[in-house]
Symmetry: C2
Subunit: 575 residues, 2 copies
């Protein structure tokens, strides 16, 4: 060991001794989130992350609500008019939807006979045509506003089946809706589609404490399932900022990612079975509760991430891991991106089974946070660092996990991968570290206009895009890179004084082409929805998209399910 | 703590002190397997587990081979005739195939023009019509014997594409083949199908040491990939007894399970991308290397477990975890099945992130092993125990993991879940413990005729089937239950002095009906193939099977890919 390394080691060891003696309880995360209440600082990047928010009552559940933006903070996105005031043959949206699209004339228009029929199926009470339609007709950002004239609230699979059978026979277009917390316009009507919201199907059907397998209805709120499992000593393998509103059916339909993906993997690995109602009303029972089942094609995967365009998910079977009690957080600095990558590799190797988060942000992101949020400070020495990394571990044994993390950090300090670092000593400190990472979106929003991209890229190439974009755009804007490094998920944000078409033209389609050229994904976790339906070719081959369209037409020949979304309009027959 | 519990605690603690001081290196497993060579004792249950075997040279790879049964040991299954002696319009198979089926007249018959065309595509050398056809025409058990007249060995995706395009235009039926180590007749011709074996496509294309993502051709031997990754400090999330022969493309096509499933999950979670050639020769590029990608339907899952009936997998991208160095094994006794279940729950909770195997066998299985295998002994006190459990942990820190396991075992002893137990103190002892569990199939085979069933069932119901079967069949046979308890995978074996139709009639269809009534799977990990194509309704709903058939016809309208397999003949047009 060189003298410099010894000094580094000593300095870091002092830091460890100073800060590391108190164990962090898992509960701090939930407490932290509760304390932040409706602020945008969930940092989970699965609900839009750049606005000041407030909770509003929705669908008669006053204790919960959509995360919805305060209108005053988003003057450019918000319009006073709501669904019923808006012509139903036009769609309105902001941002990346490729031009205006026309309502397909092949779809029927709702009439009084239809309403009467729905009331016969669901009862008067669950056929909604009052002011609750407003919330259901728009996403929480008011980025997409539809003009549906009816919201249906089925209470059973049979009711969903009867609704769809009728809609299919009448060629009435339908939009399936869960918590309506999506970001790409997937869960709101484009025009006057019939909204089928699953909020009333919220029963836990069974839970097997031996296997950890939960079976529940699609409308269960994610947070309710988290609480239910917590009481049983288990956890959901999925956690999102929108958990207070989002429904498990919607999570599955959008293949939601979130914070626990690095540890527990995607829903394709955790969902064991689904019950789905197809467009013609047929109930597709794939509700297995088995870890292993090799009898034929595993069809449920078609519906995971299909965003309601192939069927309506009515029940979900999911494998849940046991709850682990020990959580530790470290906030670290790296001099270059290569060190961040190497640190990730070492963390996977040394922390292995206890690693539960590996997040990163660059120095530009840190500056934006420090300059725009109140009550935050950089816990590291005021030396200039180029990158910051947040590492979280979750395990069964507090003392073991802590010691393991400390050993890893000392080793990484010795090898020069990290230049500074601090371990959370209590809940407040841990929360403060997460606040830095989670505060990036909110601070960017406060700093001005933001162009936001959610990309999956090979880890080693990921930051090159930030560097290239910075060179391309020059000094007049701030190019910020942060995200879930452990998952190869980059949030590329460009902060400018105001929105400017010239800047947008410099960014797009360059950002999509660059992502495509590096075999990345233009939507890591947010889905396609309406926003990117015509951009899917940037991430998927023509043959793959063609096969998707063929499957869509096979399963939903009249294309009544969530039309205009997911698939490019050129391949579908909407005109 | 009661006096009895104190005594139990002391007794167990003495046992721990006696046996637990040496750490077990991960390598013992591989060494153990090498030492056992070609014996049937792989215990991975992914190659048939009840025969004495030997390795044979195959496809010019003398160092590797199929696991093939010694003919003398299986007189009832083996016939002297090979493919070329057998009429090509008849199929021959043993066991559960529902009656004889006829070759479909819609498929063309190979002619000299076809052969010339294949030679033009592949070159003379890789169009095989010599004695190597024998091995390719039969599975390693000689349970299924086809009569193909040609074996094609493509070297590239383009060659596969050109072959399939030609076969589709000619309506020549095709059987895709990997290592041909399957158990259900999925990888051998039923009649005279053209065999396309992927053995020459065995290049590693890329490996990303940061993300652990491996991209390789489909013909890579699993063991080669394991070695390659071992040198890089990573492991495959898949391990099978047939690893010396099986190919990764075949593993993916059959959604192979194996030993690491409890820890790393299924291939649906680990495979990140595929390149597949469709029946018409179109290359479907889904070869993503991203952990997150939510752009459209995730089509690769259709091909995982499709057993070559939807396309030929040519390249695979897979997420591999870092190699962990610390492995510990415990062999335990439980008094009842409920205790086994509770122990599983406690193991998941207490060992959490380091648990890597949880296997069980009942006392009948133990008796069969002790009575029929040489050199084995019960390491526990000679008291009668009803159930035995093998627990393996794998982690990063030897001392931590060991201590954690010991603490868990002492706690389980105190609470009465386990009545006796021992920790492996060295490689030999660990190997001996695994030998007991892995030796069940081999010892059953030595004991006489065996009726074997590989079932997935809810863990709490799993052993009820063994009990019911025992009551149903009486004293004249031995009903044995063992398997991967942690995965809910039961191996139900019935040992009788000789094969007897009356016994079979007592077992089937009862066993399938029972499994179906409990929402189990009649094939946990072996697939459907030819053997269970007409039994799929026991595990899948009519609507689901109908959709599978529709997708099959959409993707392969002429049904040239692996005909007669996977899907029930009643839904396909083979006549």
């Amino acid at each position: 060991m060189t003298t410099a390394m010894v000094e580094k080691y000593k300095a870091f060891h002092r830091l460890l001794n100073k800060t590391s003696r108190t164990l962090v309880d898992r509960r701090f995360r939930q407490q932290g989130q509760c304390a932040r209440g409706g602020s945008a600082a969930s940092g989970l990047d699965h609900r839009p992350d750049a606005v000041v928010e407030q909770r509003v009552s929705y669908l008669g559940c006053p204790k919960r609500g959509l995360w919805t933006s305060a209108r005053a903070s988003l003057p450019s996105l918000v319009d006073g008019g709501f669904a019923r005031d808006y012509p139903m043959n036009r769609c309105r949206s902001f941002g990346s939807v490729a031009g205006e699209i026309q309502r397909s004339s092949k779809f029927a228009t709702l009439n009084s006979d239809d309403v009467a029929h729905f009331k016969e199926i669901l009862g008067e009470r669950n056929v909604v045509q009052d002011e609750r339609l407003e919330a259901a007709n728009s996403d929480w950002m008011h980025k997409y506003v539809g003009s549906s004239r009816i919201l249906l609230l089925p209470k059973s699979t049979d009711e969903v089946s009867r609704i769809l059978k009728y809609c299919n026979s009448r060629c009435l277009a339908v939009v399936p809706q869960g918590g309506n917390t999506g970001l790409v316009g997937g869960s709101v009507p484009v025009f006057d589609e019939v909204i089928i919201n699953m909020a009333l199907m919220k029963q836990v059907i069974s839970f097997d404490k031996i296997s950890g397998i939960l079976v529940c209805e699609a409308g269960c709120i994610l947070e309710d399932l988290i609480s239910f499992l917590d009481n049983q000593g288990f956890v959901m393998p999925l956690d999102l900022g929108a958990k207070g509103s989002c429904q498990i059916g919607g999570n599955v339909a959008t293949n939601a990612g979130g914070l626990r993906l690095i540890r527990y993997g995607s829903l394709h690995g955790n969902v064991l079975g689904l019950e789905v109602v197809l467009a013609n009303g047929d109930v597709l029972d794939m509700l297995g509760t088995l870890r292993k089942d090799n009898t034929g094609y595993d069809l449920k995967h078609l519906f995971i991430g299909s965003e309601g365009s192939l069927g309506i998910i009515t029940k979900v079977s999911i494998l849940t891991p046991p709850k682990l009690s020990s959580v530790n957080i470290a906030f670290l600095a790296c001099q270059d991106y290569l060190s961040c990558q190497k640190l990730l590799l070492e963390a996977k190797r040394s922390l292995g089974e206890i690693l539960s988060a590996f997040e990163f942000m660059d120095s530009v992101a840190m500056d934006v946070v420090l300059n725009n949020l109140d009550g935050v400070r950089n816990p590291l020495a005021p030396t200039a660092h180029n990158f910051y990394v947040l590492i979280e571990t979750t395990g069964t044994e507090e003392s073991y996990d802590k010691e393991k993390l400390e050993k890893f950090l000392v080793g990484s300090m010795e090898s020069g991968l990290i230049s500074d670092g601090v371990l959370a000593q209590d809940i407040n400190q841990a929360s403060a570290f997460w606040r830095l990472r989670e505060g990036v979106p909110e601070s960017l929003q406060r700093a001005g206009a933001v162009y936001k991209y959610d990309l999956s890229l090979p880890v080693e190439k990921m930051y090159d895009l930030v560097v290239e974009m910075r060179a391309r755009l020059g000094e007049s804007v701030k190019v910020v890179g942060y995200g879930h490094l452990g998952d190869g998920n980059l949030h590329l944000n460009i902060s400018a004084p105001k929105y400017d078409d010239a800047i947008l033209a410099q960014i797009e389609p360059f950002v999509y082409e660059w992502t495509s050229n590096h075999r990345g994904s233009i939507s890591a976790e947010h889905g396609v929805g309406l926003m990117k339906a015509n951009k899917i070719f940037y991430s998927k081959s023509p043959e793959a998209v063609q096969l998707m369209a063929s499957i869509k037409k096979l399963v939903d020949p009249k294309t009544i399910l969530n039309p205009y979304k997911v698939l490019p309009h050129s391949l579908m027959s909407y005109s």
